[in-house]
Amino acid sequence: MITLHWVYAVAGAMFAAFALLGAGDRTNPRRWTTSAFWALLALSMWGGDRLGDLGNGVLLLGLVALAGLGGMGRGQSALPDALRRDRADRMGNRLFVIALIIPATALIGTFVFKQAPDWVDGKQATLIALALGVLIASVVGCLWLRASPLEPLQQGRRLMDSVGWAAILPQMLASLGAVFALAGVGDVVGQIVSMAIPQGSLLGAVIAYGLGMALFTMVMGNAFAAFPVMTAAIGLPLLIRTYDGDPAVVCAIGMLAGFCGTLMTPMAANFNLVPAALLDLRDKHGVIKRQVGTAVPLLVVNILLIYWLAFP
């Protein structure tokens, strides 16, 4: 049966290739430590189940040490603009067709794989189908664009190096949630919050969750970091467990409420301050000012959507 482990094997192979190719990139001043980071991720994907809990903990320390001590760098491997323009003219819209293979396969696979429970682990159908889509798109892409089989890996590594250590940020935050759960953080915050929110007021709890996501995101500049905290505090103990809300709706729209916060904070520099600099705006908060008028009503909509959709 095809399970998630097949997908981990594919991901591990990719990270291993990034590590090997990266080690040979002389334009990257930190190529050895950058390569070691991807090698550790490859090890995690391939052998994580055999390392034991403590072994995984040590692996995690290695990743954090490599990234936290400034070991991640990137090379200069961008292609000349003229070459890309020329290729774009020749390839035309087949580029979009190849790109659509991935979401199309993921979507179709999610439904088809559920019909074949003997072959594919139905609970992980989407991720397995996604990996299949990536493999198909890679093969089709290389053949159709007449690229060498090494080209996707080299270009993928270029993008991966530009993402850098942020690649494991979501996985780290999800893991932090487990430590929070073990320590009972959610229960404690839940008790405090339930004192602040009028007893039995579902709307009050939903507002606290949506508003909390937006405000926490504004403070930290990152909805990903706000999410484990607010979900442990309000989303899970109150909305999902006490009021029996649909966890998919609560969390998916709760995250989007956080995104409304991202639109309103200078802490999210990438999105709000960098473009102001790129566009030579005199007012470096000019972009945020244009966004507030959309973010505030959209936050209200998100809170109402959770209230209406999660509690039928």
Partner: protein, 225 residues
Amino acid sequence: MWVLLGIAIIVAGFLLRFHPLLVILASAIVTGIAAGLDLLTILAAFGKAFNEARYVSIIWIVLPVVGLLEAYGLQERARGLIAKMRGATVGQFLTGYMLLRQGLAAVGLTSVAGHAQTVRPLVAPIAEAAAEAQAGTLDDDRREEVKAWAAATDNIGLFFGEDIFLAIGSILLIKGLLEQYGISLEPLHLSVWAIPTAIAAFLIHGFRLWRLDRRLRRSAPEDPA
């Protein structure tokens, strides 16, 4: 009560711009100690959770395909599409761009457009030119405002399009976190709930862009009839 120190560390650490990975590690250690666990137990628990949450990092397997397509001119093709929308009013143009940005992000193509890739070279100049044609002349404040609208529209299109794609970081983070609390969900079940907000974002921001058009028209000098 002391277990809340971990949350305080997350907030303070992100606020003070320490390295996020170090902040998360520190928060985990402090939370564990406050709950009376010893260091090795905390490390093992964190390691176990990290191993179980590996699928959160699976999204990166799309990078080789995206990289290949970018090397063969995907961004240039996207720019071609945007340039075709020239000739509309600034509100219509930015609304069209928002739709394109949401659509591309919804199929996982988040890095095809962006502030450096499309806004600076293309969206902002076209928006400026359109606004100039509508209002006659643009003073510096107006010019700034229109450029800021271009960047804001890009952000809004991206944020409220990307979660429709079922393998984006935030969707897998939600899946990963809920799994730690014993709730198992398919990414598809999460991503469909991004659609209502995506529509609302399009309507709200589109309405504001429509009002921008009206304001520009009103500030235009009267035609000498």
